[in-house]
């Protein structure tokens, strides 16, 4: 009998948990520890953020699903890992603090044989003074944040309906943010909503981003073929900004947000301010506050975690210049080298370096998008961890460990540019691989056959299809496992 504990019930953790229930025997135990009682299909939060969906359309309660699937569920926050157990306690365990109302604040300790760290990000609003719902800007990172953003956005729309001009700022709240695609989607959905409301001429929409150029999306941009030519996501994105009349400020690190004004520094070292009536600025991410201890209780957090709080796995973390970065630096099994029974997947693992070229402003401020590792890659990593754990439980030392490096993994992304079955649109993109491999693909780092982009109504239909399909899958309805990650 083996006991697998999964920290986190997001895309990676929930995927791992569901797959483990069908890969392990009934005598094995699958345990999920997550501070939230609900699962959230985060890609649809942008539709909540403009009022096209309600929060309960993008979330559902995890408890009933886990009860049906025989998964032990602890609504709690993991605080410590003891991979070697502790004094007089040989079995590894994790420390948790309960968040469910019945046991709020209570301490717990859960033994494990295998551990999956899928804790996702800590939304680090504190990195930028005044950023976030507790400050002066909105966010769409959670369904609740998106609901609040929608209410404030509609206040702005009301003012425009009374003839008042409004400045809307959408983008990244720090120079090291990731998920530029989500901010891009939100900017275009806001623009779409304002056209639908007949007030577009009164809105000045500004996209404020840490990307060096438009179309970077934290993956160094894309090159694809279109009508016999190679074109770039930069040109393609700039065309969309021109068509929809959205202004853009690139290479920006937000230094602070005050009531109605955002301050930012740009790569040329200039400091600027932008007044706004409504701002949705995403926070930077860091790892959750997990600590690790060895058998005698010595703190080994620095060995297991990078300074940004993400967990170090089987990657090459040696510091080297951008020109020397290689695809093979990226992890492939997501196991912690010292403890192969611990996996870190999704946003929780520490990337060895950025995908986009990192840059510094003339005053030394780092303005570099962090690598995205959400959505499809997260689900794939979750399933990989489940597959390898099941293999290790069955075959022990002779287990065949599978790999799924982001440098050998593709991704399909759909960035909404407005919703509506007849009037919606979205940019559909595929890329292969996610991390460019200039050894295998010397020209662009990616396969031109498998990397493409297209804008149209069909993209909206695909995003809507994915919404319903992945919620069906996450609810573990009949045949759920046939839906790929």
């Amino acid at each position: 009998m083996a006991r697998v504990v999964i920290l986190g019930g997001g895309i990676a953790g929930h995927t791992a948990a569901l797959h483990l229930t069908r890969m392990l025997t009934r005598s094995d135990e699958v345990v999920v520890v997550t501070p939230n009682s609900k699962w959230n299909w985060i890609p649809s939060n942008i539709w909540v953020g403009v009022g096209k969906m309600k929060t309960d359309q993008v979330t559902f309660k995890l408890g009933p699903i886990y009860k049906r699937k025989g998964i032990e569920f602890h609504q709690a926050l993991a605080t410590g890992i003891h991979p070697e157990g502790g004094p007089g306690r040989p079995r590894p365990y994790v420390e948790v603090t309960y968040t469910d109302p019945a046991r709020a604040g209570a301490h717990g300790e859960l033994d494990y044989d295998y551990l999956v760290n899928a804790t996702g990000p800590k939304l680090n609003f504190g990195a930028t003074p005044g950023l976030g719902p507790a400050g002066h800007s909105y966010s769409v990172c959670t369904a609740a944040h998106a609901g609040d953003a929608s209410a404030a956005l509609h206040e702005s729309i009301k003012r425009m309906q009374h003839g008042e001009r409004q400045v809307i700022v959408v983008g990244m709240g720090h120079g090291t943010c990731t998920c530029e695609g989500a901010a891009f989607e939100y900017a275009f959905n806001v623009e779409h909503e304002m056209r639908q409301a007949g007030v577009r001429d009164l809105a000045d929409i500004v996209y404020l981003t840490n990307e060096y150029e438009l179309g970077d999306f934290g993956v160094g941009g894309l090159t694809f073929t279109q009508q016999g030519f190679q074109t770039t996501s930069k040109l393609w994105t700039e065309s969309l900004f021109r068509e929809r009349g959205i202004r853009a400020i690139t290479g920006a690190h937000v230094t602070g947000v005050e009531e109605g004004v955002v301050h930012y520094e740009q790569l040329d070292g200039s400091s600027n301010s932008l007044f706004f009536d409504f701002a949705m600025l995403l926070p930077p991410f860091r790892g959750v506050d997990l600590h690790a201890y060895d058998a005698d209780g010595t703190d080994i957090t620095d060995e297991l975690f990078a300074p940004n709080g993400f967990m170090k796995v089987d990657a090459d973390y040696s510091a080297k210049p951008f020109e020397e970065w290689l695809a093979k630096d990226w992890p492939s099994t997501y196991q912690v080298p010292r403890y192969p029974n611990i996996f870190a997947v999704g946003i929780a693992f520490a990337p060895p370096h950025q995908i986009s070229r990192p840059r510094k402003s003339s005053s030394g401020t780092v303005i570099a998008p962090s690598p995205p590792r959400t959505g499809m890659p997260s689900g794939i990593m979750g399933r990989l961890a489940a597959t390898n754990i099941a293999e290790m439980i069955r075959h022990g030392d002779s287990a065949k460990i599978r790999t799924a490096s982001m440098a050998d993994m593709g991704a399909a992304c759909v960035a909404s540019a407005g919703s509506g079955l007849r009037q919606g649109s979205a940019a559909s993109m595929t890329m292969y691989p996610v991390v460019p491999d200039l050894v295998k693909y010397p020209n662009t780092g990616r396969s031109l056959k498998d990397t493409f982009g297209e804008i149209g109504l069909s993209g909206h239909w695909i995003k809507l299809l994915l919404h319903y399909m992945f919620i069906y899958k996450a609810k573990a309805r009949p045949g759920w496992h046939l839906i790929p990650e």
Binding site: S239, A412, S425, E454, G456, P484
Partner: protein, 48 residues
């Protein structure tokens, strides 16, 4: 100096024909099938 605004101003604009094609139900149904096929190809690489 941020030249993004100048780049946007110089970016190619889609023609009316392209904009109509992006909303045309028949064309978009065909694109829906084509794009899903391309995405399935990427997904299949991960499930080998």
């Amino acid at each position: 100096m941020d030249d993004t605004e100048a780049n946007i101003a110089r970016a190619p604009l889609p023609t009316d024909k392209t904009l109509r094609a992006r909303k045309n139900l028949l064309i978009q149904f065909e694109r829906f099938v084509v794009i899903n096929t391309k995405m399935l190809k990427i997904i299949r690489k991960e499930h080998r």
